[in-house]
Structures are given as C-alpha cells and as structure tokens.
C-alpha cells in the first residue's frame, strides 16, 4: 500500500530535498503533501489521509513541537507516526519530544539517512 506523506518545514528548498529523498528511498510513496508551519500542517491533516508526517521543529506561526502535541491530543491523529527532521541538537528538548515521535533525523542528512529512518518507521508500521 502506498504511503501518503506530509512534509512540514518552513523552507521550501528543504521540503523539496525531503520529497526527493522520499522518492529515492524506494518506498511505496503515494501522495505527498507539504506545509510551511505547524498550523498549515494541522490543516493538511484535516484535509487528507496521512500515513506518515515528517516535521521540522523550529518554524514560525506554530512550531513542530506544538503541532505534534495537537496531533497527539486529537483521537483521529493521535497514532499518526511522526518523524522529526530538524537541526535541533538539544538533548533536553529531544528527550521531551522523543516519546511522542517515531523517529528523529538530524539535519544535515543525506538522502540515504532520511530513507533509512523512514524505512525503519515504515517497517514497524508494516509489522503492526
């Protein structure tokens, strides 16, 4: 089954890099939706069926952390797996976020690193 993916990042270039890495991963990717901040990400989640969300943390309007909290509070989206793709290297912040997400990819990443992280999450999904 093809995965519908949501990419949330305030940089359009970074979103394109992530989408490119997704396509290179060999995973069955269906529709890819994009959002420029957490608020837009939540709106996309309302409009589309999303199997996996790739979310940056530092964004204007609504941060990725707040978006993830809102997703977890909503019973419809509470179980959607989220992979954080961020420059954030603070262990304090990551320790707070880690229990709420399925994976973490640190920027800068190679397409292979992103693909491997997503494959790991998708593999877990496939085994559920």
């Amino acid at each position: 089954m093809a995965l519908n993916v949501l990419v949330v990042d305030d940089s359009s270039v970074m979103r394109k890099m992530i989408v490119r890495a997704l396509k290179m991963s060999g995973l069955p990717i269906g529709q890819v939706h994009e959002a420029g901040n957490g608020q837009e990400g939540l709106e996309q989640m309302d409009r589309h069926w999303i199997d996996l969300a790739l979310v940056d943390l530092n964004m204007p309007v609504m941060t990725g952390e707040e978006m993830i909290d809102r997703l977890r509070e909503n019973h419809v989206t509470a179980d959607v797996p989220v992979v954080v793709v961020s420059t954030d290297g603070s262990e304090t912040r990551l320790a707070r976020i880690r229990p709420k997400v399925a994976g973490f990819v640190h920027k800068p990443f190679t397409p292979e690193q992103l693909g491997a992280a997503i494959t790991e999450v998708v593999g877990v999904l496939g085994n559920e």
């Binding site: 940089s11 970074m14 890099m17 530092n58 420059t87 603070s90 262990e91 920027k107 800068p108």
Partner: protein
C-alpha cells in the same frame, strides 16, 4: 585555530558537504571572499544570544541551490535565497550544541537575508569568530556573532 573556530568550521563543512555537496578544497583558511556576496543570518536566543551569518559569492549561490535540489538548472532567485538561509540554519543548529553543550536549549529564528553592505552585528553584538571555506565553486564565509554573555560563555572575550 581556536576551539570556537574549529567547532564553527566543522559545523560549516558538515553542512555544505551533506546538504549542498560542496567539498572544501585544501587551501589555507582565511582566504577572502572575492566579488559581490549574498548573505543570510539565523539569530538564536537561549542561555545567550547571537547569530550565525553565512556569506557566499553571488555567482556561487545558484550552483549551491541547484546542488541542494539535485537539479541541473538553478532554481529561481527566491529559492536560491531560501537555500542559503537553510544552510545558515543548519550550521547554527549544529554549532550551538558543539560550543554550548547538548543540554542547553536555544530557539532559532527563521533565516533572513542580509541587505548588501549592511553591518550584520545587531546592537550589543560583536563578531566572535569567522571562518572561510574554500569550496570548488568559490569561497563561503561563516561567522558567529554574539552578545557579551555569548562571548563570555564561549570564551571569546576580548
């Protein structure tokens, strides 16, 4: 090269290599940037405040942006500037844990372009350290500015 310069250089090399496939050439650090440059800044706040500024030769930006997108042709100018901002963002996100410790939490502002000829230092800030990456496509300069607390915390007083 001081520890601070080394940390900034490492973060910059990692970022340019992995995001833009731009490999540093074996030339002495400190080579000046030649010709007009384009710059982007990412300001940070937390235990102390400052900003990372990335400057590249104007003619190099289209190549870097195309590399980042994996395309032959350069993207439109706004996307090129977005690409430079993202390079600054990633350098900033990587250098802070290296110099301030991984437990400290910083907030990074969205990347912003710097007008040509403007002084990047904001009130209360000064240049703490600057490194030059000699790349195949031309040189890039990465600078760390900070307030007095930042300078003291990073051992850049003076």
């Amino acid at each position: 090269m001081s520890e601070l310069e080394r940390a900034l250089y490492r973060a910059a090399v990692l970022t340019f290599e992995e995001l833009a496939f731009a490999l540093p050439m074996p030339e002495p650090a400190g080579r000046p940037l030649e010709g007009p440059t384009v710059r982007a800044r990412v300001a940070f706040r937390g235990p102390f405040a400052g900003q990372v500024v990335v400057a590249v030769a104007d003619g190099m930006l289209p190549v870097l942006a195309a590399n980042m997108l994996g395309e032959e042709a350069p993207p439109p100018r706004p996307e090129q500037e977005d690409a430079l901002g993202e390079l600054a963002n990633v350098v900033c996100g990587n250098v802070l844990p290296a110099v301030a410790g991984r437990e400290r939490v910083f907030h990074l502002d969205a990347p912003a372009p710097l007008p040509p000829g403007s002084d990047p230092a904001r009130p209360g800030e000064r240049l703490l350290v600057s490194v030059v990456l000699p790349l195949d496509e031309g040189a890039a300069r990465v600078s760390l500015f900070g307030d007095a607390e930042c300078a003291a915390a990073l051992g850049a007083s003076g």
